[in-house]
């Protein structure tokens, strides 16, 4: 039975009495999260003065209702109901400051009126995802305001397949809106209900309208789930009646309203029959903080609303809603450095009013305000609108729950640590740089690493802009679904350390290859999970012993090398690592040379990469015995005729860089491997391996430069021409500035060796090869000195130089150009 304000102010109203004539039931059909509904609900409740308030929601969570009155409870919050044995099966019931249900709870608690939830318990109804998938389900009290039965399972950050259950049903509000000449159900409800500030009750007409709609869409009201839910609701109302409550206020989604009006009730027996044979699952419930972003439909919340921020504004603004909204908009734009003068605010308000009048609405709705904002402030630029949408229309508010909320032990432990470490769970992305030499920061780092191991990516590592291994930069952004992750992780242990350790060991059991395991070791160590490191290392060594692929071994080396070298920054024990690396390097030493024979090009490229990484790792650990093994292995590789040339070239280079082979030796090998008798392909591969991606050293290492220079000088004109394309191809990969530097270096060398004819040619060739401007060089060499001498005095004057008049200076000038 609906009620309107004037009817309810005294006791003369006898409608809504149950057949026994003992108590009245006032059904307040609302739209979830509608501020207009919230306002009218509060007014209605004040008028009704109920002695019992029933709210559509899971009875499983009845015991949690009193917490809503806690001063620390700050909407948006959500009730989370989950299966005790499988926390992934969970349902959320979000409440915002402006949700009618929330207002009703607050109203009841403030006045000491008993309040409870009314629906079929989730323990009986089960969860939508039972038996199917394992993802949390943002289910909600189904929403009549839009597609009521689209429940989308939460898109989870691990990007597992997203299951969406869509029931093709017609939106009842859409139908009402069409009847009223609107295109969109949401917009219609906005205008008819949400924007009414006079608060005149229209619950009775909502019941009537919904009754019409329900008869038109019999499918849905006949749905077994719906029948069970409504039977449960009635059962609870009946039990309230039998407890002697005389004025019962029922706050429910508008859709259910007609079914809850006592005059429309079926017999108690029918309801009891419908409720038979319901399952019993053990559930637990808790309050969790929610965000405005998560209230939107875009977040996958079925009963979501498009504009929580706007609704909040409607709820909180005492008067002059439009003016205040525009002023807010302008302030936001100004803080972002965009132009938003007050004169424009006035214009925008007037435009919004004018458009609303044109459309026959008053006052303007969000659409009009956004369109006016676009026309007045945005010129031809949508960025301000996006900003407004994110910060104002949706909003970034995050709720809070009191510390006394019952929580799973792991969640409790998390909260304790979080507080101790002074980390704030905020949805905004913040960057935090930790100095690992500081005890507190070190703890924070471990905490975040542990969470990450458990799959809770609250923080993600980014690059700290300082060099050194004692700094870590984290990007922190809290997402409400971490709450479920935490509850789920409860299965692994009841403290963060235990759970992370167990999870890490489990991951190790499943890891398929060595690099993954090595990474896991790294993660376990940075998370300071001593108990996990040992089993993971054991597994690692077992795997390493049987693995046939030497590339895998080499790729697994760098993470371990990092630990072996820097592990002590964190005060971790890394003897285990040292042991493992010893064994690995020994294995690499044995396996690498044969593995480099008979490779195809792709495999060779992969091997070269692995070798480079392994080399860096070994230099990092810097143990003489490792280096010895490594050098031996590399020498074997370069000596073997059938080694892929690219690998051979790279190994030569590594050996020379470490001065494990002499300059003379290098030169000999170079001529041997890149001589004219060698097929051009093979020569090219060798050169590529030797130089590729590593030109800096060539520039800075004078002796290497000299060797290359000499080698180039020593080959015959003909083979140089043959090699030139290969050389140019290789050097083309270097940065342009580096190429230029190399060219200049060659030229300087050429100048300084002017007297020595052969050397000069060599340097010039190096210059040609590196600068990639062989033609220019050749032209320069071919210039006619006598003709150049004619212009030289003029050039000298132009440059402000004194003209000496010999050929040498002309050439110098030309070169300098």
């Amino acid at each position: 039975m609906g009620i309107s304000e004037d009817e309810s102010t005294n006791d003369g109203d006898d409608r809504g009495r149950d057949p026994a004539g003992e108590s009245e039931v006032f059904v307040l059909g609302v739209r979830h999260h509608g501020p207009g509904s919230a306002r009218s609900v509060v007014r209605a409740l004040e008028a009704i003065e109920p002695d019992s308030v029933l709210i559509e929601g899971p009875p499983d969570a009845d015991s949690l209702i009193p917490l809503a009155a806690d001063p620390a409870m700050k909407p948006p919050v959500a009730l989370l109901v989950y299966r005790v044995d499988r926390p992934r099966s969970a349902a959320f019931y979000p409440f915002a400051e402006f949700s009618p249900e929330w207002r009703a709870i607050v109203f009841a608690l403030e006045r000491g009126v008993p309040v409870r939830f009314m629906d079929s318990p989730l323990s009986a109804r089960g969860f939508d995802d039972d038996d199917s998938d394992e993802k949390p389900n943002v289910s909600a009290p189904d929403n009549e305001s839009e597609n009521p039965d689209v429940q989308e399972s939460q898109e989870h950050e691990n990007k597992e397949s997203i299951k969406i259950r869509r029931v093709a049903r017609i939106d009842p509000l859409q139908e009402l809106a069409l009847a009223a000449g609107y295109d969109d159900g949401e917009a219609w409800w906005e205008d008819v209900v949400e924007h009414r500030r006079d608060g005149f009750d229209r619950f009775e007409s909502i019941v009537e309208a919904m009754a019409e709609i329900r008869s038109a869409f019999a499918d849905r009201s006949d749905d077994p789930d719906e029948r069970i839910r409504e039977a449960s609701m009635r059962k609870i109302i009946r039990s309230e009646q039998s407890e002697g409550r005389r004025r019962i206020a029922v706050v429910c989604g508008a859709w259910h309203a007609p079914a809850l009006v006592p005059s429309a009730w079926p017999g108690a027996k029918d309801d009891a029959a419908a409720l038979k044979r319901l399952r019993k699952i053990k559930t637990a419930a808790t309050w969790i903080p929610w965000t405005h972003g998560r209230l939107t439909r875009a977040s996958g919340y079925g009963a979501g609303i498009a504009s929580p921020g706007w609704y909040e504004h409607l709820w909180t603004a005492p008067d002059r809603v439009v003016d205040r909204w525009m002023a807010k908009t302008a302030r936001l734009l100004r803080t972002e450095g965009l132009e938003a003068p007050t004169a424009s605010v006035i214009d925008a308000v007037r435009l919004a009013d004018a458009v609303a009048a044109l459309r026959g609405k008053s006052p303007p709705g969000l659409d009009e305000l956004v369109e006016a904002t676009r026309a007045v402030f945005c010129f031809n630029n949508d960025i301000p609108l996006r900003l407004i949408h994110k910060k104002l229309i949706v909003g970034e508010t995050i709720g809070g729950v009191p510390g006394t909320t019952p929580r799973a032990p792991l969640r409790e432990d998390f909260e304790r640590l979080r507080k101790k470490l002074r980390l704030v769970a905020s949805p905004d992305l913040t960057v935090r740089t930790l100095d690992l030499r500081d005890a507190n920061d070190l703890e924070r780092s471990r905490f975040l690493h542990r969470l990450a191991l458990m799959g809770i990516d609250w923080g993600s590592l980014t690059y700290a802009n300082t060099k050194g291994t004692f700094k870590e930069a984290w990007e922190l952004a809290w997402r409400p679904e971490f709450e479920i992750d935490l509850i789920e992780a409860g299965a692994w242990g009841s403290t963060i350390v235990d759970a992370a350790t167990a999870k890490a060991c489990d991951l190790a059991e499943r890891a398929s290859d060595l690099p993954k395991l090595a990474e896991l070791v790294d993660r376990a160590i940075v998370a300071d999970l001593a108990a996990a490191v040992e089993p993971i290392m054991k597994r690692f060594e077992d795997k390493a012993a049987v693995v046939g692929d030497v590339d895998q071994l080499m790729n697994a080396l760098p993470p371990l090398a990092n630990l072996a070298r820097y592990g002590d920054v964190r005060g971790s024990d890394f003897r285990l690592i040292a042991h493992a690396t010893d064994a690995m390097i020994a294995r690499i030493g044995v396996n690498l040379p044969p593995a480099c024979l008979a490779l195809d090009d792709d495999a060779a490229t992969a091997t070269v990469e692995a070798i480079v990484k392994a080399d860096a790792a070994i230099r990092l650990i810097d143990k003489p015995e490792h280096v010895h093994i490594w050098t031996d292995a590399l020498l074997k590789i370069v000596d073997a005729e059938r080694t892929h040339r690219k690998v051979s070239g790279r190994c030569c280079r590594i050996l020379f860089d470490a001065r494990s082979i002499e300059a003379l030796d290098l030169e000999r090998r170079m001529s041997l491997d890149v001589s004219t008798t060698v097929e051009p392909d093979r020569a090219a591969a060798w050169i590529e391996g030797f130089f590729k991606g590593n030109g800096d050293l060539l520039y800075y290492d004078d002796s290497l430069f000299a060797i290359v220079d000499d080698w180039l000088g020593s080959i015959s004109e003909e083979s140089f021409i043959n090699l030139a394309p290969i050389l140019r191809r290789t050097f083309a990969d270097l940065d342009a500035p580096l190429r230029r530097n190399l060219g200049e270096k060659a030229r300087e060398l050429s100048d300084s060796r002017r007297d020595d004819g052969s050397k000069r040619t060599a340097s010039r060739r190096t210059g040609e090869a590196t600068s990639g401007r062989a033609e220019d060089d050749r032209d320069r060499n071919a210039f006619d000195a006598s003709r150049a001498a004619l212009v030289a005095p003029l050039v000298a004057r132009l440059l402000g130089l004194e003209y000496i008049g010999n050929e040498e200076s002309i050439e110098n000038k030309k070169v300098k150009e």
Binding site: A343, V355, L358, F379
Partner: protein, 410 residues
Amino acid sequence: MSVKSDSKDSRGKNAGGRGAADSAANGGDKASEGGDDGAGLKSESNTVAAAIDRRRRRAEEEFAHELAELERRDDRKRPPRWRLSPRAVASYLMGEKLENGFIVTPKYIGNRRLIEIAIATLATDRALLLLGVPGTAKSRVSEHLAAAISGDSTLLVQGTAGTSEESIRYGWNYALLLAEGPSPRAIVSSPILRAMTEGKITRVEELTRIPADVQDSLITILSENTLPVPELGIEIPAAKGFNVIATANNKDKGVNELSSALKRRFNTVVLPTPATEEEEVEIVRSRVESLGRALELPAEPAGIDEIRRVVAVFRELREGVTSDGKTKLKQPTGTMSTAEAISVLNHGLSLAGHFGDGVLRAGDVAAGLVGAIVKDPVQDRVVWLEYLETVVKERDGWKDMYRACRNVTS
């Protein structure tokens, strides 16, 4: 923009005249494109227009019956000096079936909300700036708005690099000036000044092509709603009902960016390219039909299939992806606007009518199509050939189109 570019393209193809029925009531001519018009031009164009058969009628003439009907039915409140209420203006632009069964044809096919914002802007004291790439019906919308609100779409300043301050404010009749000295009689009003005194809507086309210092003379008019005449020590106030609709092209916006002071006097409405293929086909169909009638093309109206194909080609090249979203395409340098699609079809219709069998076929469209797409002989040609070989050739039922296009693209 649409209006202009089609008439440009079909210029010379239709010299034939229709009965003088439409030349009954004539004000100024839209063809005062030079922007250097003063008061004198109006009377002159009156006589000119009366003498010849107009190639295109002004909006308020062409749709006079619709405007009259709307005015008769309109019982809502009208802003001062508006012929219609804002709601009726919206109905005029978007088309509507009135209660008595009278059908108002749509003038703008697209988002109604944009048009509502535009109309609401004109009812406040901010001016309206219509932005959009060429061919998004900016000029057409502004013409119809002026016609519906003031019943007069002729108060037009065509923005060019040579637009002078006189065409925004006022000039002098030098003969009078020399004879009598400065006096109100010697002032030659600009269209804007006339709109101010008469309380009408004035239109400024291509605002961003006007030099910045000339643009600035609009600021006083828009913010103070008066035009000072320092020579006479007077100021001419704007009557209620005066407002400005400016259009600007946001593709080559760099010409003369608006100063932020001027920007602030305008509410901006960006007219988008048609959102869906259906919408675009409908726009092209209705415009081709009405233009074909106006130009008295002898061919039958274009078949919807041919329109669909041309629109598909334009849309795909504009968006750089095929309509099924599977193949990426290079984009030509032109804007590939809807207006150009219309003129391609009109061109085709005229070919079919005068040289073919009166039915529009692929061969008739091909030449116009290639001309519209290949604006740059090197770059665009590559784009077009690629499109032809990879998309047109493969598509079912497009064989004739492919062959025809191949023939004209040597």
